[in-house]
């Protein structure tokens, strides 16, 4: 857009010749304007001075200097005026102008608002625009980048408050930024330079002159092209005359290529724009064109900025998503690792458990082996004890007296009891070790019950108990006869043991398709309900007080239960305390069939 301006300026000059006649007529018009009495008289004019090097400023020796000062001093010299510069901030200068405290204020950009407050000269003196400056590498490239930033501006400057000023621009783009309004462009640059502001707005010439002093750089944000005028207090009689005189001088100066005007432009701005003798309306037109071009270029730029900002936002969004995806992937991986770790742990744990299980099985096996060899080792001395008591009682070594017989019988009975215990333990350990084999054979069930009753009859007779058997003759079993006899011996001897009066009844019947049901019912002491659950546990002769009265290994029912299961059957008990007990076993008629099924 910078180029756009210079192209317009060239065109400007190209049109000069056609415009000349028009200018002449304008000059004639001005010469008819009646001179005021100021003309030729020593007059002191108060001129507002603010610091905007190189346009107008106080030099090192305290004198007013700069482009505007050159023009003012020249005109004052020609008119014989005394000039008194009144220094102040831009805002102060404008306030003084409004209050009529100064007569002339240079370097004022035209705005309709200002036109209501001040009188403008007809001739513009200079063209300028504003630029946003930032620190080197400040990262602000377009208007949009000002979002959330702090921007230092010159208070009451056209580039702040003007129609196309920075405030209007940012509000048009919905950009929120904070403005630090200060009194001079120098202060603007100080704030940007020391980081108190992110960006600063100054006129192009001030920025050009001072940017390197503060380590600042120009951004592409350029706006508010302005024509700058002399201004005077509104409604001041002096002002009208002053404007006329100054306008006349300006016109003259602009027409002469070697005038102080062009010399001064060259001196302060390093440019020789050539003669700029253009009528005001023409300049306005061209200015408008330039402004339009500037604005359209600016618009393009802003559009581009917006597009690029949008692109940046999009790529930022893409990056964010990529990042999120990566994070997800990481989480996923972590999760997988976790799962794998847990799997390994589980496998280890399973291995440990298997190992522990094997260990337990081995322990169990060792226990059985231990029990078996213990039984063997216990049986060997029992062989001698039982054998020798036996032959002594038989009187083989010689006759015994009654007391000797009685005592030896006690030895023999206790040895027999010990043997029963050992046998039971051996059987249980075999069953629990899974080493109890069954040897099935076919037999009539009633033959087994007969043998059992035969064996237990002496004990029953002693207590005057009746043992009744109700077994059909046609029940044929295929099972382990020895084991079944062992079971029945245990159950029936228990019944005899715990019955003082009445009878023990053995009932057998076919139940269902191929099951034998045997019930051993007595009229004995019975079992308390709360003790029923202990019935099939080892060393749990129910009723602790009974242990003395009723001898037994305490393993009988436990072993019987194990044996029944070994033969593929079930065992259950029912009792009415004080009236009797029924033990029922159910066995498959064919243990082999049962096993292979």
């Amino acid at each position: 857009m910078f180029q756009g301006v210079s192209v317009a300026a060239k065109k400007d000059r190209g049109m000069k010749k056609q415009i000349l006649p028009a200018l002449f007529s304008l000059l004639c018009l001005i010469s008819f304007i009646p001179s005021t009495n100021i003309h030729g008289q020593p007059l002191t004019l108060k001129v507002g001075l603010y610091e905007n090097q190189p346009k107008i400023f106080t030099d090192t020796s305290g004198n007013a200097s700069g482009f505007w000062a050159d023009i003012i001093d020249y005109i004052a010299g020609r008119e014989g005026w005394n000039v008194e510069y009144i220094p102040g901030t831009w805002d102060e200068c404008l306030q003084r102008l409004a209050a009529g405290e100064i007569d002339i204020m240079p370097d004022v950009a035209y705005t309709p608002a200002r036109n209501k407050m001040y009188a403008f000269s007809a001739q513009s003196v200079y063209t300028s625009w504003s630029t946003v400056y930032i620190r080197e590498g400040g990262g602000i490239e377009s208007l949009i980048d000002l979002e959330g930033k702090t921007v230092a501006v010159l208070k009451n400057s056209v580039n702040v408050e003007g129609e196309n000023g920075i405030k209007a621009l940012v509000s048009a783009f919905d950009i929120n930024c904070t403005f630090l309004e200060v009194d001079s462009y120098l202060r603007v640059f100080e704030l940007v330079g020391n980081g108190q502001a992110d960006a600063g707005v100054t006129s192009k010439d001030f920025g050009y002159q001072h940017e390197s002093d503060f380590g600042l750089t120009k951004t592409a944000i350029m706006f508010q092209p302005s024509l700058l005028y002399f201004t005077f207090p509104k409604n001041s009689p002096l002002a009208a005359g002053l404007a006329e005189i100054i306008d006349a001088h300006m016109q003259e100066l602009k027409e002469n290529d070697s005038s102080i005007y062009y010399q001064s432009l060259d001196r302060w701005f390093g440019q020789a724009p050539g003669r700029n003798i253009i009528p005001a309306w023409m300049f306005w037109a061209l200015g408008s064109v330039a402004a339009l071009i500037l604005l359209s270029a600016g618009g393009n730029f802003l559009l581009r900025s917006q597009v690029s900002a949008r692109t940046r936002e999009l790529s930022a969004e893409i990056n964010r998503r990529k990042h999120a995806d990566e994070e997800l992937a990481i989480y996923h991986e972590q999760l997988e690792q976790l799962v794998e770790m847990r799997t390994v742990e589980l496998k280890e744990r399973t291995g440990e458990l298997e190992q522990a299980n094997l260990h337990l099985q081995e322990m169990d096996r060792l226990k059985s082996v231990f029990l078996a060899s213990m039984s063997h080792e216990l049986r060997t001395p029992l062989n001698s004890i039982i054998g020798f008591t036996g032959i002594l009682l038989m009187g083989m070594p010689g006759e015994l007296n009654d007391e000797q017989k009685k005592q030896l019988t006690m030895v023999k009975n206790n040895a027999g009891h010990l043997l029963s215990l050992i046998n039971d333990i051996l059987d249980i350990s075999k069953i629990e070790a899974g080493k109890a084999e069954i040897n099935p054979e076919e037999f009539r069930f009633d033959t087994v019950t007969s043998e059992v009753i035969e064996q237990l009859r002496p004990a029953a007779d002693k207590k005057r108990l009746e043992i009744v058997a109700d077994i059909p003759e046609d029940i044929i079993l295929t099972s382990d006869k020895r084991r079944l006899k062992q079971i029945l011996l245990n159950l029936v001897s228990n019944a005899v043991k715990f019955t003082e009066k009445g009878s023990v009844k053995i009932t057998g019947r076919i139940a269902g398709k191929n099951m034998l049901e045997v019930e051993i019912a007595d009229t004995g002491i019975g079992i308390k309900p709360e003790e029923m659950s202990k019935l099939f546990q080892p060393f749990q002769q129910v009723g602790a007080s009974l242990t003395k009265k009723y001898e037994g290994t305490g393993l009988g029912l436990y072993l019987s239960g194990k044996l029944v299961v070994l033969l593929g059957g079930t065992i259950s008990a029912g009792s009415e305390y004080g009236h009797g007990t029924e033990i029922t076993i159910a066995l498959p008629l064919n243990r082999e069939e049962e096993k292979t099924e």
Binding site: R379, S384, G390, M394, P397, N423, L426, E437
Partner: protein, 119 residues
């Protein structure tokens, strides 16, 4: 007088059996281990052998097999007397060639009667 070879490593049990056998009119010869037992079986050709299964050198089953394989002593009845009561003990002794099986502890009242089945 019939001759019974008792192969048994426990002195007390040996004494118990010798006592019962001699009281019932048998002549007893003793062997404390398996190999001695085999040798005596071959040399003295007893009418009956009582074989303990757990012996210090070769076990009673192996001793039984070797005796059964010989021509001289192969037909002598052998009765296993053992406190081994594990699964299949009875079957194992019969398979090894024993004529019968008496479980320890022996019952003095029936012991001689059971032995006489094999004489």
């Amino acid at each position: 007088m019939k001759k019974v070879l008792v192969i048994e490593d426990n002195d007390n049990n040996m004494y118990l059996m010798r006592f019962m056998l001699e009281k019932n009119g048998y002549r007893v010869i003793e062997a404390g281990d398996g190999l001695t037992g085999i040798k005596m079986a071959f040399e003295q050709k007893p009418d009956l052998i009582i074989m303990d299964i757990q012996l210090p050198d070769i076990n009673g089953l192996e001793a039984t097999r070797r005796i059964r394989q010989s021509d001289i002593a192969g037909s002598i009845p052998i009765v296993a007397v053992t406190s081994y009561a594990m699964v299949g003990d009875r079957e194992q002794t019969l398979q090894a060639g024993c004529s019968g099986y008496i479980e320890k502890p022996i019952n003095p009242e029936t012991f001689i009667k059971e032995l006489q089945k094999f004489l």
